[in-house]
Symmetry: C2
Subunit: 141 residues, 2 copies
């Protein structure tokens, strides 16, 4: 398994198709943006993926921004292929993002997870994440 950081030139039509199918395992009905949409100048994103014999088996994204309260990174869209779960790929992807975050000078990593994602929550806790009592609010516009 190779763990790689996405670069624009990795994005072929076949690569995009595999990413689309993988993301659908996380959120079957959610509208997806194209990979090329994430490569804009103002987007401080890192997307890490695991690939073996040409097949993308997992991915995770991280976006960094700076506000008065700190330099923060949000982990987003973490998904491991259903055939690959329980073998440590999620941990490898997260560790790679943590490494990049430290290089970027991030002081706080954040993510949110649904209650029913037991394996994911266990992984986040193993990596040192603490559940916060704060409540998350969303507005679709």
């Amino acid at each position: 398994m190779e763990i790689a950081l996405l670069q624009k030139n990795h994005v072929t039509p076949e690569f995009q198709n595999q990413i689309r199918a993988l993301f659908q395992q996380l959120a079957p009905t959610k509208k997806q943006l194209q990979l090329l949409d994430i490569f804009n100048d103002k987007n401080n994103i890192t997307l890490v993926y695991g690939i073996k014999d040409g097949e993308i088996l997992g991915m995770a994204s991280m976006c960094v921004y700076t506000v008065i309260s700190g330099k923060k990174a949000w982990i987003e869209d973490v998904v491991v292929h259903e055939n690959e779960r329980g073998k440590g790929l999620g941990r490898k992807l997260m560790q790679k993002l943590l490494e990049v975050a430290k290089k970027k000078g991030v002081t706080e990593l954040l993510l949110f997870s649904a209650e029913h994602r037991v394996a994911a929550k266990q992984l986040y806790e193993d990596l040192g994440f603490k559940m916060s009592a704060s409540k998350l609010y969303k507005l679709q516009v």
Copy 2:
């Protein structure tokens, strides 16, 4: 009361001092970054503030990023001066951020708030935010 979007040339030493004091009302002991730290090329931030007779009475920040699951904006560091609370400034600041978010093509606004911030939570719900059942996880690095 003037509602303004922060530009780099607004940041004088006096302005920075007022922002620092205002932020301390939200988080008295938290280490703060300097305003000039938020003006880097990769930081897609909007900071809106309310000012009257040279005094900054409230502020709110918003950072935008794009991932596969959408173009998202996080609201951060919302604070209204203790002498100005309950007079509608928080709503004006949030409405300005919503307006900017729509112009930027954001499809999802997010924020989190502590349980005890009753007025803030009421405002977010009035503006259409829904509390999510997802749990927030944090890691300090």
